[in-house]
């Protein structure tokens, strides 16, 4: 393989990885606080449709991303109200959020279908962004650089700040956190809202980087891959980064191998498509073997907080 093929592959794989990385980071924080939100796909669709609407109305990409983050965070807060304040089942409510997001985005997006959306291009001067070699560093949308900054930010927040420690405590042992005076529900609301905002920004990636249009179900299941990714990463931000790019590499290599033809087509395409999930299962098996049966999941993941007395 030559350099003039490797660079385009890297650029395509970064594009494919960025939405699952962003959504995965948000979900990671929510899950670290003990909340399992299966509504990622729905929140991504809401983010995507809001992005298209705002870009077409105002032409401002940044405003569109902020609105997408806000709209998806609002949807996440509905989920939060049901699961945190009313203690509804998180799995069922999360699935309902996905269905709601799919339906809402389809309805809201009707006026915007059939219209091309301007791409959100590299912020660097064209001499750098379009250079055959340097574009591998400078040729991406601002959303890509944002996602990388967020990896470090989330890691720093969770591992190096007091607030991050509280969030992890709430996720590992909600009753203890409650007993020393922290608001478990309050922390979880914030974490869920952050997860929603990140899923919304992940949704923005579709019309702004990948395929500049709105059409129903635009994200076609990438939200589920993001959920698998969080488990694959064992709830660690840097492993999440590696996992997102690994999943992106698999998705990208599939189409490049098919386009190359010949001996590159050894794997059937169904297997390519299943690889991220197979990898996740494999990692789960490895984790549970290493830790003598216990997983690295936050101890309170998915459990409603019901303080007694």
């Amino acid at each position: 393989m030559t350099l003039d093929l490797i660079i385009p592959i890297i650029i395509t794989l970064v594009g494919a990885s960025t939405p699952i990385l962003l959504a995965g980071l948000g979900e990671l924080v929510a899950e670290k606080s003990g909340v399992l939100n299966l509504g990622v796909e729905g929140m991504m669709l809401i983010g995507a449709v809001i992005t298209v609407a705002v870009v077409l109305l105002t032409g401002n990409h940044w405003l569109a991303i902020i609105c997408a983050a806000g709209a998806s965070a609002a949807a996440a807060l509905i989920f939060g109200f049901l699961t945190l304040s009313l203690s509804a089942n998180q799995v069922a409510t999360g699935l309902a959020l996905t269905i709601f997001g799919t339906g809402f985005s389809a309805l809201f997006g009707q006026p915007y279908t059939g219209k091309a959306v301007p791409l959100f291009r590299s912020p660097f001067p064209p001499e750098l962004a379009a250079d055959p070699v340097w574009r591998v560093v400078f040729g991406y949308s601002p959303l890509v650089y944002f996602s990388l900054i967020m990896v470090v930010a989330v890691w720093w927040f969770l591992q190096r700040t007091r607030a991050g420690l509280i969030l992890r405590a709430v996720g590992e042992n909600d009753l203890s956190a409650h007993s020393i005076g922290y608001s478990v529900i309050g922390v979880r609301y914030l974490a869920v809202a952050f997860g929603g905002a990140m899923a919304g920004i992940a949704g923005s990636c579709f019309p702004l980087i990948l395929t500049p249009q709105w059409v129903e179900r635009l994200t076609t299941g990438r939200g589920w891959i993001a959920l698998a990714l969080v488990v694959f990463a064992a709830w660690r931000p840097f492993r999440l980064l590696a996992g997102a790019y690994l999943f992106g590499l698999v998705m990208t290599l599939e189409v490049y191998a098919k386009a190359a033809g010949g001996g590159f087509r050894v794997l059937p395409s169904e297997l390519w498509a299943a690889l991220p999930y197979l990898a996740t299962i494999l990692v789960l098996v490895l984790i549970s073997m290493r830790r003598g049966g216990s997983s690295s999941a936050p101890a309170c993941l998915g459990k409603p907080f019901l303080p007694t007395g």
């Binding site: 990948l210 395929t211 076609t220």
Partner: protein, 360 residues
């Protein structure tokens, strides 16, 4: 669809006022309920858009006073579709269009349970006393696209993004490749299957992968404009709309489009149910009868290319050119169709090879 607005209310009022004149007969005739089951949504600007446009045309032609339609969108090819067909039949729909290949098994299953309901299965391959099939010869349109692509390409490398390797798609690829090589024997066609009728992000990535490997004309047999948008962004020679005109998405790259025109078929078949003459059968028309249309040509296509494309189109319509006229070799070099022979409509579905120049 049954949408009540002020205008239809006035119409109903008018009709009611006129009723005493015609006696009670208008009440006796119940509207025919027709169901449409779509794999996606009408706003995909492609396959589903084509069927929905056909439905609207049919409503216009036959009149909303005689027929009412129900559209069910986003029905996956699989067991869930069976439920949809059964519900439509139970709700009194007497004619149901199943507009995707993968509905077949479920259409036949439900059709057996509702013998008085007529089913029509688009792109299907088997009939029953109350199941007909209808299809369009898209490969005829693809021969026109192949002619344009073969003449326009500078890298002699064309691409074809397919959904699944079913006969319909494979023969589209063959028609495209054969026509392209007729005008440019150096041409090869790279094929990428994305294993979905609808996955815009993957279609776009496939287009990127193909362009990065030297392709400069892309065509696709999936339901949306994602690949065409990548072609526009990268500034390659171009691509083609599938199912409908997609030039709004790619004004520079959109060379022309294959436009599905289901309207005339829907009018004929609904009318035959109204008349009581509907019968089991198979309809497979193409350019000649207007089911397959070629869209507007992009201004950047040179006049001689347009003329060549028009000639292919007109010759196919006139019956003097067959898209699968021999000699045809497969991509391993074996002669599959002898000179003077053609692949006829019956043999079409059994073809399991790719024509010379196809890399799949």
């Amino acid at each position: 669809m049954t949408v009540l607005n002020r205008r239809t209310l006035i119409k109903i009022g008018g009709a009611a006022a006129a009723l005493p004149l015609v006696g009670g007969r208008a009440f006796a005739q119940e509207k025919l309920k027709v169901g449409f089951v779509l794999i996606g949504t009408p706003d995909d600007n492609g396959w589903n858009f084509g069927h929905d446009t056909g439905r609207k045309y049919m409503l216009d032609q036959i009149g909303a006073d005689k027929v009412e339609t129900t559209v069910v969108t986003n029905v996956a090819e699989g067991p869930d579709s069976e439920r949809v067909f059964r519900e439509l039949a139970q709700q009194g729909h007497k004619l149901i269009y199943a507009t995707s290949f993968g509905y077949g098994d479920y259409v036949h299953k439900v059709a057996k349970q509702f013998p008085d309901v007529k089913f029509e299965w688009a792109t299907g391959n088997s009939t029953a006393p109350n199941v007909s099939i209808y299809n369009a010869k898209f490969h005829e349109g693809r021969a026109v696209l192949g002619t344009i692509a073969g003449m326009m390409t500078k890298t002699n490398t064309l691409a074809y993004i397919g959904s699944f390797p079913i006969p319909e798609v494979r023969m589209g690829i063959n028609a495209f490749a054969i026509a392209a090589r007729k005008v440019n024997p150096e041409v090869k066609v790279k094929v990428v299957y994305v294993d979905s009728w609808f996955d815009p992000a993957k279609e776009a990535d496939a287009a990127r992968a193909l362009i990065d490997q030297g392709v400069d004309v892309i065509t696709q047999h999936t339901d949306g404009p994602a690949a065409l948008q990548v072609a526009e962004e990268r500034g390659i020679v171009g691509g083609f709309g599938q199912g409908a005109d997609m030039s709004a998405f790619a004004p520079k790259a959109h060379l022309t489009a294959i436009i599905d025109n289901w309207g005339p078929h829907y009018v004929k078949s609904v009318q035959s149910v109204l008349d009581g003459t509907w019968a089991e059968g198979s309809v497979w028309d193409g350019i000649a009868s207007g089911e397959v249309e070629i869209g507007k040509y992009n201004e950047k296509i040179p006049a001689d290319v347009v003329a060549a494309a028009e000639k292919v189109k007109n010759d196919i319509a006139a019956g003097t050119l067959h898209p699968f006229a021999g000699p045809i070799n497969d991509n391993a070099g074996t002669e599959r169709v002898a000179a003077g022979d053609v692949i006829d409509d019956g043999e079409f579905w059994a073809v399991d090879w790719y024509a010379e120049g196809v890399e799949a």
